[in-house]
């Protein structure tokens, strides 16, 4: 995403506040991966990965990596007590059964209805959806972490997605370097504004209409 390390960390730290003790959580590649760094080990959060593990832990020390124990991004991890290994059908069974409390994903576009587009830019970038559709549709709560605008300065929070969808009505919360926005039945609610931005700046950078939360008005 080309976002500064500091901003990426800030978004990840804010996202970590959405996690509570004992939750089952799947983190996507990119900024979402950083979220784990902000969650205390004694919370016993169980991190799930699509290729067959529930209960991944911190990165191993240099030289202690195991080539058969990586996260979904291919980077070496460890496991925590209570972890289990299984095949990919079990990994996705857990997702489709609705046992993921939260999945945190990156996005290209999110619509005011919570539609998510994060896997394809036709004619340009066609990586495939991997597990994104399963996660977006299956998890109890979907949190999107992304830059507020794209490289051309255009809002990624849109009235209607222009890119092919990953899943409809799936996003619950959007966290960017500018704001925290909740997807509600009434529309997008601006809940928090990040330093050094103002409410007006966030509204100006957001294509979709925003309802300003009472706590920001007061």
């Amino acid at each position: 995403m080309g976002m500064a390390r500091e901003l990426r960390q800030r978004i990840a730290r804010r996202a970590a506040q959405e996690i509570t003790r004992g939750m089952v959580v799947n983190l996507g590649i990119g900024i979402p991966t950083l979220v784990a760094d902000f969650i205390p080990a004694d919370w016993r959060v169980m991190f799930h990965a699509e290729h067959g593990v529930l209960g991944t832990g911190p990165s191993p020390l240099k030289g202690e990596e195991d080539e058969h124990l990586c996260n979904a991004g291919g980077l070496p991890v460890t496991v925590v007590p209570g972890a289990s290994y299984f095949d990919s059908t079990m990994a996705f069974g857990i997702i489709r059964k609705g046992l993921l409390d939260v999945t945190i994903l990156g996005a290209l576009e999110v619509s005011e209805k919570g539609d998510l587009a994060n896997w394809i830019v036709p004619g340009k970038l066609v990586p495939g959806m991997g597990g994104a559709m399963d996660l977006a549709q299956g998890a109890k709560r979907v949190i999107v972490l992304m830059s507020h605008v794209n490289k051309k300065g255009k809002s990624k929070i849109v009235k209607t997605c222009t890119l092919p969808l990953t899943a409809r009505n799936c996003v619950d919360l959007i966290i960017t370097e500018m704001a925290v926005i909740e997807v509600t039945v009434d529309g997008l609610v601006l809940q928090e504004v990040m330093e050094p931005y103002s409410v007006d700046e966030v509204v100006r950078c957001t294509e979709a209409p925003l309802i300003i939360s009472g706590k920001l008005k007061g």
Binding site: G22, W43, R44, T89, G93, I94, K97
Partner: protein
């Protein structure tokens, strides 16, 4: 869901979830791998009008057989009731409604519910009684029966060892339907021979990840006599 504290419960605490009219899934094959302490608890509590979903009716006093024999069961979705003559008797008297499925189909229907799929296409039993009224679907020129997923209110399973997160390891042929029903119900209660701390199980051996398990109950062991012990 808060899954930090141990899932360990007393039998009474766990039985709160099993009420009259419960759609109750169970593990076990002829009683092998059925949870004796939970079944005893259900019997003692007086639960009735149960809708059982599992492989078979076991034997008259073995496994779920005891619940059936004592008239606590209103309906069964199963593959075989031949080893428990009380089931056949109740069925012919109109007191027990039984739906039969080929065993492999039943297992897959339950797994389907457990992994969040809508159903499977299967050809076992085509053009026999079990084909009656089934929706047919054609795929690549071949015809299959559509079998919808099965789910339940509560699943009761028997496992050899669990850790406090609810990860389960089964023992030999006592595994059978246990890992399947463990995934397929709203609430899963595992009766376990031994509950160990997190990290004490080999993570490669875990057959049911703890995320599927809601409550753990310690087993008091089998309180019935197996057919092979009777002579």
């Amino acid at each position: 869901m808060e899954q930090v504290s141990s899932k360990k419960k007393t039998v009474d605490q766990a039985l709160v979830y099993i009420k009259d009219e419960c759609r109750l899934m169970y593990g076990g094959f002829g009683g092998i791998g059925s949870p004796p302490t939970l079944i005893e608890g259900i019997f003692e509590k007086g639960v009735k009008n149960l809708h059982l979903i599992g492989n078979d009716a076991a034997f008259p006093e073995v496994g779920v057989g005891r619940l059936i024999s004592n008239g606590r069961v209103k309906s069964m979705i199963t593959s075989h009731i031949g080893s428990n003559p009380n089931s056949g008797k109740l069925m012919s008297e109109g007191k027990l409604d039984v739906s039969f499925y080929p065993q492999g189909t039943l297992a897959e229907k339950i797994r389907c519910g457990g992994v969040g799929l809508g159903g499977i296409l299967v050809d076992i039993g085509m053009d026999t009684i079990v084909d009656d009224g089934k929706q047919r679907v054609e795929v690549n020129g071949k015809t299959y029966m559509l079998e919808p997923a099965l789910t339940g209110d509560v699943a009761i399973v028997y496992a050899e060892r669990a850790d406090e997160y609810g990860n389960l390891i089964y023992d030999k042929t006592a595994r059978n339907f246990n890992p399947l029903v463990a995934m397929a119900a709203d609430i899963t209660i595992a009766e376990v021979k031994e509950i160990v701390p997190r990290g004490a199980l080999n993570p490669e051996m875990i057959a049911t990840p703890g995320v599927f398990v809601d409550y753990l109950v310690e087993s008091k062991g089998v309180n019935w006599t197996w057919a092979w012990q009777e002579n």
